[in-house]
Symmetry: C2
């Protein structure tokens, strides 16, 4: 059987994760790595892989079945995904929830122009958590869904701290509040505030002679990121940060409880949870599974932009429909 | 908007559950209840619903969009699902894992003959647990999946005990073994025996003067059902059974852990769990959500037999694709 040829655009944490993920999927193979950096500065893990300047990517379109876009959601993907969807089938992990509708529209238009299939917003949230929210709300219409993140490192919040004057480095952990998780599991239908659901724990390396109290104050009062949460700030040395906080673990829970029975006398609870040693590596594994589905849809002529909600689950698996019914149903 | 018209075939625990589930889904309405019993013996919860003899069901096919088959998997569904798939779009909860391939083939042939869509083996296992197994194995190819059931009442095992001479009534609880659940969560790749994963707890009402030790021995040595498990047998009065064990709670976990990273140095764990006060009511809610998908596929001319693996998740929800992307992605 010929392998599905996967290209990687952008070789950071996510790009390297996709490269590792491909080595676990026997029906797929890495075709090229595309980069905006100097190609000679990239050292792929895979022997003999060609590293190509991003600008030249369209010339390699006929040798790549699906291009996985491994850039960031703030500035890279809003440009790259529509741009490359004209030349390639693409998958991305666009995670700015509020801008998904406009991103979807731009990518869909590019797909239809080029005759390609795209899947946006794959990963774990959006992605696997979105699926958990959809399935659980479809089967428990009379209920409430809670999403908890953590305990894990938020790269966006860590970056926000690093931009403060006098901060050399930082790690921020998002931590779910136990009482809220417990209430959700017990079938609560309470509305929780942001503060009631998560706390934020910061580990900060301050420059010598900087005003730590001013840094602490800037963090805890930062709008959107920290002001609405109970935030603790801990100052540590760069060495300690490197030693104790260098990983990117994450995870969380989607919990939905609903009432059922003739008079709502019974409760059903559904919980989907993830515990990840490496956030970008797991995201990469999800991107690769959805790339398989995108390849299959494109082969069937099903063009346009899709999300995880549009994909029949069977398309994610290398197994045949007969094997799936026999082994996993 | 016109409501999706749902028929119920068989008015036991599951049929009544479907009737309750429909009242939570505003885009659907109960059309008819079909029964093999005397229709006058059926008292629907819904006002004004016509109860029709099962034999006359085909005459009502044009007034029913999807027929939900609420019979049992051992003798009812292998006959009923193919039979009615010729006249109706159908959904069933066929749960005899070993016979799914032949059931699928029979229902598929009937669907294609009649121009209908069927979905078999919906519920929680097979059903939601099957989806958890498929998604988690697709995104974590290098790993191992464990399915634990319980703590909950197994109706099949309870029935098996009731067939023993001298037994008047019985309830059997399937109980996951804590150590095995813990190992699965921690990323174990051990093979567990049936005995290592679950214990079986029996509550038995014996006839006066019966030999309890003989009954106990018959239960614990029963092949397939109990012989491979650590089984405890407790004798109680009918009153105590009625008071303390009359519900049908169930639930369980699907847990998959896998290795990732360049050298398998990281672990990812996925857990999907259910906690259900009423097993048949939750199964009914799943059947109804999949009936919505079957109606939509049939309206698009996508005929034939499907399983939960073939259904794009968006089709399960009453929300539009735009709403889903905006609210749940």
């Amino acid at each position: 059987m010929e392998k599905i040829k996967i290209g990687i655009m952008g070789y950071g944490n996510l790009g390297r994760g996709v490269e590792c993920a491909l080595s676990q999927n026997d029906d797929m193979a890495l075709s090229f790595i595309f980069t905006r950096r100097d190609p000679s500065s990239i050292k792929p893990l895979t022997d003999g892989i060609k590293v190509v300047p991003a600008d030249m990517a369209p010339e390699f379109a006929d040798k790549t079945d699906v291009l996985i876009l491994c850039g960031g959601s703030s500035t890279d993907l809003p440009v790259q995904t529509p741009k490359y969807a004209e030349f390639f089938n693409v998958v991305d992990s666009f995670d700015t929830h509020a801008h998904i509708p406009e991103h979807f529209a731009a990518v869909d238009a590019a797909c239809l122009k080029g005759g390609h299939t795209a899947l946006i917003s794959a990963g774990w949230d959006p992605g696997m958590f979105s699926l958990a929210r959809l399935y659980s709300s479809a089967v428990l219409p009379s209920g409430k869904t809670y999403t908890f993140w953590g305990r894990g490192v938020s790269q966006g919040h860590s970056d926000a701290i690093r931009r403060i004057d006098g901060v050399l480095d930082a790690r921020q952990y998002t931590v779910p509040v136990d009482e809220a998780v417990k209430a959700a599991r017990e079938g609560s239908v309470e509305e929780f505030s942001a503060r009631q659901m998560h706390t934020r724990e910061c580990w900060v390396v301050a420059a010598e002679g900087s005003d730590r109290e001013a840094i602490r104050e800037k963090i805890v009062s930062m709008p959107n990121y920290f002001a609405d949460y109970d935030t603790t700030v801990n100052f540590i040395s760069q060495e300690e940060l490197n030693e104790k906080h260098r990983g990117l673990p994450h995870g969380g829970f989607v919990i939905r409880s609903g009432k059922n029975g003739a008079n709502g006398e019974h409760t059903s609870s559904i919980e989907y949870s993830l515990k990840l040693d490496s956030n970008p590596e797991f995201t990469s594994l999800v991107l690769v599974a959805f790339a398989r589905a995108v390849y299959r849809l494109s082969s069937q002529g099903q063009y346009g932009c899709k999300t995880v909600f549009d994909i029949p689950p069977a398309l994610l698996s290398p197994l045949t429909p007969e094997q799936l019914r026999h082994e996993l149903l």
